[in-house]
Subunit: 424 residues, 2 copies
C-alpha cells in the first residue's frame, strides 16, 4: 500500500454492501431435492408477491427496471456485474443475498436471505441458505479478488448444523463472512452462551459475522411503513451490543462483526453512553457489582478491531461525523443493485459528498477499512482501481487537507469530559 | 408571567420527574378487599426483594439510606416532601409511582407502577393501579399548586375499564396525567386503532399520557445490566413513534404525550431521519404511496405542542443540544427521591450545568415547558419560586447572553440541507 495521503493514486472503492442472487426459480438445482415440492410453492408465492408489488407501485417499478435493465442482470451474471461495477467506479464488493429489493424475485429459497428470521422450519432455513451458499461460492470464485461473499447461516435453527456449515465455508475463494438472522425471535438471545460454538467457528475460519437491515418487529407496525423505517436500525444493530456487552470479543479475540445498511448516525451516541457506563459512571452505583467483568476495554475500543459498520451510502451528516463514529470502523457502500443506494450514479455521489473530506479519511471510508475487516486482496484490488477508480482530483478534493493527529480520539469528547477509564 | 429574560426573577423549577409512594404494606386500605389475599403474598415478595437487594448491594444501600433518611420519607409524607423540595430549589413536580428505586419498597400493589407491563392478571393490574391512584389523589390534593400527579392506567388490560378510570381522574386536584405500561407485550401495539378511546378520553380530560423508563425486553439480557441500560431508552420512547406515525396527534389534536427519564440525546437524530422521510426522501420512492396520509405535519413539528420530553437530570451534552432536540419540548427533572437523579444536590448541579445557558433557555428547560405541557398553576408556582427558587445570579449566568432568533429552526440543520417540506 502506498501513502494513504497520495493525491494521485486512484481510490480503491470497496462497496461494503452489494447484493446478488439468482431469479428465485433458478435456485432449484442448488437446492436439496427433498425440498423441491415446498420450493414450487415458494416460487409461486414469490411471483404473487411481484404481482402485488406491481399493483401498488407500478410506475416506479417500470421506471427503475426500464432504466437499469442491463445493470440489474449483474445480480446473477458475473460479466455484466464486473462491467457495471467498473462503470460505477467500484473495485471490490461485499455481497449479500437478495439481488432484487423492489419485487423480491432474486431471493434465496424460502426467503433465506434478508428475511431468514421469518422462517420457522429449520429444514427450510438451512436448505434455503445452503442453496444460496452453493451458488454464491461459484459466483464469487469467478473473480475472488473483487468479490467478498457473505454466506447465509440460520444459527437460531441449530448450533451444531451451523458450525458444520461454517467449517465447510472456511477457505472457499471469495467467501469472507456469514450473515445471521437479524432477530432471534423465541430462540436464545445472541449474547447468551448458546451460540458460542458459532462465534468460535467464525473466529477460527476468519469469517466476519453480519446482520443486514431487513427484518424488524413487523407485528407492531401493521402496514405503517414509517414505524418500520424508524425501528429497523435498532433491530439490525441489536446483536452488536449483545455480542459486545456479553464479552464475546474478549472470549473470541479474532471474532469480527459488521452491521450493514443501517446507517452510522446512531454509533457515536451509543458509544458515548456505553463508554461512560463502563468508564465513568456514578449513575449506576446502585447497579453495584453488576457491570464488573463483562468486558475488558471501553466499548468504543472494540470498534475498528472487532466491530465494523457497513454504512452503505452515508449521508453528508454521517460523513461529517466520521471521526466520532469511527474513522477506523466505517465502510462506505453502494447497495448495488438496490434502488435506495447510489448505483448507477456512484461517481456523482462521491464527487458531491467527499469534496471536503481529507484524502486519507476518504481512503479509509471508501476501501481501506473494508480491506482490513475482510482481509481482502490488496494487489488484486489495486489493479482494478488503477483502471477504474475515482481519484482525489475527480472528487474535487484539496490535496493539502490533512486529518489532524488523534482526530478520532478528540472527536470522542466524552472520553475527556467524563474522564472515561475502564473501571471494572 | 414576567419577561423570560429577566436577570432577577427566580427560576420556577418544575421537576418533570419525581416519585412518590407508600411503603408497600400501607397500600392495603386503598386496595379493593377482594385482592387482599394476593396482596399479602405480594408484600412478602417485596420484602424478599429487599433482602436480596441488601445482599447484592449492602454498602450502597446503607450509605444512601443513612445519608438521606429524612428526605426519603418525603416519598409519602407531604410535609417532609415540601421541605425537601424547598431545600433542593424545586417549586413544582410531576409525580410518578415507585418512591424507592433502590430496594423497591414503595411500589404500588403487584408492581402496578414502573413494572406495570409485567402484570398478567387484569384484576391485579387495575386493582394495583387504582390503589395507587386513590392514594395519589389525596397526596396531590395536599398541595395541588406544586404537585402534578401521574396516575396509573394499565391500558393493555382493557380499554373500557381504562376509559372509566380516566374519566374518574379528570379534574381531580393535582392529577395531571396518566402513565401507561411501557411495553404492550402480546397486546395490540399502541399505534393500532385499539386504544383510540383511551387517547380520546385523555385528550378530553386534559391528562398527559406518559411512559417512564423501567421496563425493557428483560428476557434478552439474562443478568447483563449493560444490555438493559443500552436498550431501555428505545423501549421507553417506542410509544412516541407509534402515536406520532399513526397520526394520533392529528386524530386527537389535544392529545399530549411525554416520555420520562430516558434522556433526550436520541431526539435530534430521530427527528432528522423522520423529517427527511416525510419531507425530503427520494430513498423511499420504492415505498410508493405508503407514506401518504399518515400525518399532517413534519414529525419535529409535533414537538412542543403534542410531544414533550421529561429529560430528567440532563447531561451537559444534552443541554448543549437543547435547540436541536427541542427547546420548546424538553423538561428538566430531578428524579427525587431516586439516587440516579440530582437530589439532594440539585442546586450544585444547576450551578454547574447551566452556567453557559441563556436565561430564557434555562427558564424553558427548568420550568416553562412543564407549565405549558401540564397547564400548571403559574401564580401558585411563582409564589413558591420567589421563596426558594435559584436565580440567574446563583447559577453564575451571564445576563447579557441571549438566545438567537430562530435558534431551534437553525439547529435543525436537516430542514435546509434536505429542503424538508411535508410531501404527503
Amino acid at each position: 500500500m502506498s501513502d494513504i495521503t497520495s493525491p494521485t493514486d486512484p481510490y480503491i472503492v470497496v462497496s461494503s454492501d452489494t447484493h446478488a442472487g439468482l431469479n428465485c426459480e433458478e435456485y432449484r438445482p442448488y437446492l436439496d431435492s427433498s425440498l423441491h415440492e415446498e420450493f414450487d410453492q415458494y416460487v409461486a408465492e414469490r411471483h404473487e408477491h411481484r404481482r402485488i408489488a406491481e399493483e401498488i407501485n407500478a410506475d416506479f417499478i417500470a421506471e427503475w427496471e426500464g432504466d437499469n435493465a442491463e445493470g440489474l442482470k449483474g445480480a446473477y451474471d458475473p460479466d455484466i456485474r464486473d462491467k457495471t461495477l467498473d462503470a460505477d467506479g467500484i473495485s471490490g464488493e461485499v455481497i449479500f443475498a437478495d439481488g432484487d429489493a423492489v419485487t423480491g424475485q432474486e431471493s434465496p429459497p424460502f426467503g433465506a436471505g434478508l428475511a431468514a428470521g421469518q422462517i420457522t422450519d429449520p429444514k427450510k432455513a438451512f436448505g434455503g441458505a445452503r442453496a444460496h451458499n452453493r451458488w454464491l461460492e461459484e459466483f464469487c470464485a469467478t473473480n475472488p479478488a473483487r468479490r467478498a461473499g457473505v454466506a447465509l447461516v440460520p444459527i437460531t435453527h441449530g448450533v451444531e448444523e451451523s458450525v458444520k456449515e461454517i467449517e465447510a465455508l472456511a477457505g472457499k475463494p471469495g467467501i469472507k463472512g456469514i450473515m445471521v438472522p437479524t432477530m432471534w425471535h423465541g430462540f436464545p438471545a445472541y449474547g447468551s452462551g448458546h451460540y458460542d460454538k458459532v462465534w468460535a467457528a467464525c473466529a477460527e475460519a476468519g469469517l466476519v459475522v453480519h446482520t443486514h437491515s431487513g427484518e424488524a418487529d413487523f407485528e407492531s407496525y401493521g402496514d405503517n411503513v414509517a414505524m418500520y423505517i424508524r425501528e429497523v436500525p435498532f433491530w439490525t444493530h441489536r446483536i452488536l451490543w449483545q455480542l459486545l456487552f456479553s464479552g464475546k470479543f474478549d472470549q473470541f479475540p479474532e471474532l469480527k462483526y459488521a452491521v450493514v445498511e443501517c446507517g452510522s448516525f446512531w454509533v457515536g451516541d451509543i458509544l458515548w453512553k456505553a463508554d461512560v457506563n463502563f468508564g465513568a459512571s456514578n449513575k449506576i452505583k446502585k447497579m453495584g457489582s453488576r457491570m464488573k467483568g463483562l468486558i475488558s476495554r471501553l466499548p468504543s475500543e472494540y470498534f475498528g478491531t472487532n466491530v465494523f459498520i457497513g454504512a452503505s451510502t452515508m449521508s453528508k451528516e454521517e460523513i461529517r461525523r466520521r471521526q466520532v463514529n469511527g474513522i477506523d470502523a466505517l465502510m462506505w457502500g453502494t447497495d448495488y443493485p438496490h434502488p435506495e443506494g447510489s448505483w448507477p450514479n456512484t461517481k456523482e455521489r462521491l464527487e458531491n459528498d467527499f469534496r471536503d473530506v481529507s484524502i486519507e479519511d476518504t481512503r479509509r471510508l471508501l476501501g481501506l477499512n473494508a480491506i482490513d475487516c475482510y482481509d481482502l486482496d490488496v494487489a488484486g484490488l489495486t489493479e482494478v482501481a488503477n483502471r477504474i477508480g475515482p481519484t482525489p482530483e475527480s472528487l474535487h478534493q484539496d490535496p493539502n487537507l490533512r486529518t489532524p493527529d488523534n482526530a478520532q480520539r478528540d472527536a470522542r469528547w466524552w472520553l475527556d469530559e467524563y474522564g472515561c477509564k475502564m473501571q471494572y
